[in-house]
């Protein structure tokens, strides 16, 4: 049995003459929290909709939970929280969850138990009897998340689940996602909030103009930027430093060096002292996902 819960091969979607997704080829492993990154208009939501069967691909193939995209049986084991989540707001929180549980065909007694458990989990137990139109934006996102978890999914798609949430709400959602990972649930996480992605994702792919252009395993992202402010720099010193990593920037006697990990910093410092180079500052900064995002997208990418 394959280890992948999502496998796509050149999935493509055109709307008339506009290509929304040019080539979506990716694999998502069971149990990982998978981040889906890209600027506005990169085709993230359309890609997600194709995987969920909401949008029909123009060409290419895709399997979700071992079945073709949009397959009914696969949907029994999928949860989904859409971006800009909307619902029948005349219902109370509990009625809303009962309705969606019925669509999953969950037996009423089991459903009631599950709803109580989820209301506690998203911290809405005391608001279950209130109409949804009285809920704040954060409460709406959280009840939407509870809706996505009703059927104990093996795979859950979260489209911008933390947008519009206050810091407490974001932490709550992040904790829920981390708990899902502990439980072995695969999470397909689409977000613009890169700090959330960094905090919870195992792996990310970068999507640009409808194509996957890079993949990055966050747990293995140990590359560090080392900033050095020195008294003098000569060619010999530059040759020495180049053996530890690549020089990203030189501004007078200040250097930014990209090194593979922290272990070489003491050695670099020792070499500087041995060469009698005055050292004014040695600062190591782990490279942020935001910096990587900007690099990967390139200078030609503009705000969407």
């Amino acid at each position: 049995m394959t280890d992948f819960v999502i496998e796509t091969d050149r999935l493509r979607k055109e709307f008339g003459s506009k290509v929304a997704v040019a080539d979506l080829t990716l694999r998502v492993r069971a149990g990982e929290v998978f981040g889906f990154l890209g600027p506005n208009g990169a085709g993230k939501t359309t890609s997600m909709k194709m995987l969920l069967g909401l949008v029909h691909p123009t060409s290419g193939q895709g399997m979700v939970l071992g079945r073709p995209v949009g397959d009914l049986a696969a949907r029994r084991e999928i949860g989904f929280l859409p971006e800009h989540f909307r619902f029948h707001d005349w219902m109370t929180g509990r009625e809303f969850l009962v309705f969606h549980g019925q669509l999953h065909g969950i037996e009423r007694r089991e459903l009631n138990t599950r709803i109580d458990e989820l209301l506690d989990r998203v911290d809405l137990a005391d608001a279950a009897g209130r109409k949804l139109h009285e809920y704040s934006k954060g409460m709406q996102q959280r009840i939407g998340l509870a809706q996505a978890l009703l059927n104990r999914p093996r795979l859950i798609f979260l489209d911008e689940p933390t947008s519009g949430l206050d810091p407490i709400g974001r932490i709550l959602v992040r904790d829920i996602v981390l708990k899902l990972r502990e439980d072995g649930v695969t999470v397909f996480f689409n977000s613009h909030i890169l700090t959330d992605i960094e905090a919870i994702c195992d792996r990310v792919v970068f999507l640009k103009r409808g194509r996957v252009i890079q993949e990055s395993r966050l747990a293995e992202r140990d590359r560090i930027e080392l900033e050095l402010k020195l008294g003098a720099i000569d060619d010999g010193l530059m040759e020495v430093l180049a053996t530890y990593g690549s020089v990203m920037e030189r501004n007078g006697t200040t250097l930014r060096l990209e090194i593979p990990d922290e272990s070489c910093i003491p050695d670099i410092t020792r070499r500087l002292v041995e060469r009698n180079v005055p050292v004014y500052r040695v600062a190591a900064v782990k490279r942020s996902l935001e910096a990587e995002f900007i690099d990967v997208m390139g200078e030609d990418e503009r705000a969407g």
Binding site: F15, V55, L72, R75, R86, F87, M91, H100, L103
Partner: protein, 277 residues
Amino acid sequence: MNGILTIARLTIREARQRKILLLSMMLGAVFLALFAWGFHSISTATRANGVQAAQVRFQWNVITLVGLYAVNFLVTATAVLLPIDTLSGEIASGVMHTLLTKPMRRFEVVVGKWLGNACILTFYLAGMAGGVLAIARFEAAYTPPNILAGLGLLWLESLVLLTLSIAGGTQLTTLANGILVFGLYGIAFIGGWMEQIGTTFGSSTARNLGIAASLLVPIEAMWQYAATLMQPAFLRETRLSPFAYASSPSPFMIWWAVGHIAVVFLFAVVRFEKRDM
């Protein structure tokens, strides 16, 4: 099947929660009160004037059909408006995204919405037409002939419009759908009159255009057929009643209307299945 019933129940509950049923019942009660008042006044005047028994029965028939004509208008308007945004509104707002990722087929959503709205329309038609008939019975001990067949045709008419409105909602925005279905209603209405006027004045072109309009949207034909059935033969033949039509629709129109519903419904299901959300 679970999906169909859940969506149908949701549709009925939504109509109740959004006060649609309450408003319909309140306005319906006002209409019936007005009709009862008018019927009672005419009944009192008729008795005072000592009109002949046969003439009185024709009079009751015309008044009752006036009431049913108004009911027919209210039901057809409801059949267009009630489901006008049931699909298009939920597609535009994104509510549909959450529904369609549940383990049910897309056709179950269309069938569930249709079923829920059809139940509401049936309830509304039964209440309003039943009210008019009860008033006629109570005030004048009168019931028009072939009442079940007549009401059945009005029901069929409302289902034609309901199905058109649902089908439009699978492709069009709410506003565009409303314009389309009301436009079709207008074509059918004018077509029905053209057919009658063409028959009366011997214009086969006008008559044929009217028939074509009825084939396109078989709703006015359903009312004319129902009205013809619910009149005594004498009134029909002498054309003394405003509801005695020069050209009575063929029974074939019933099957045409049933086929129309089936084809439009199938179109709705297929388009909804293929649509990108």
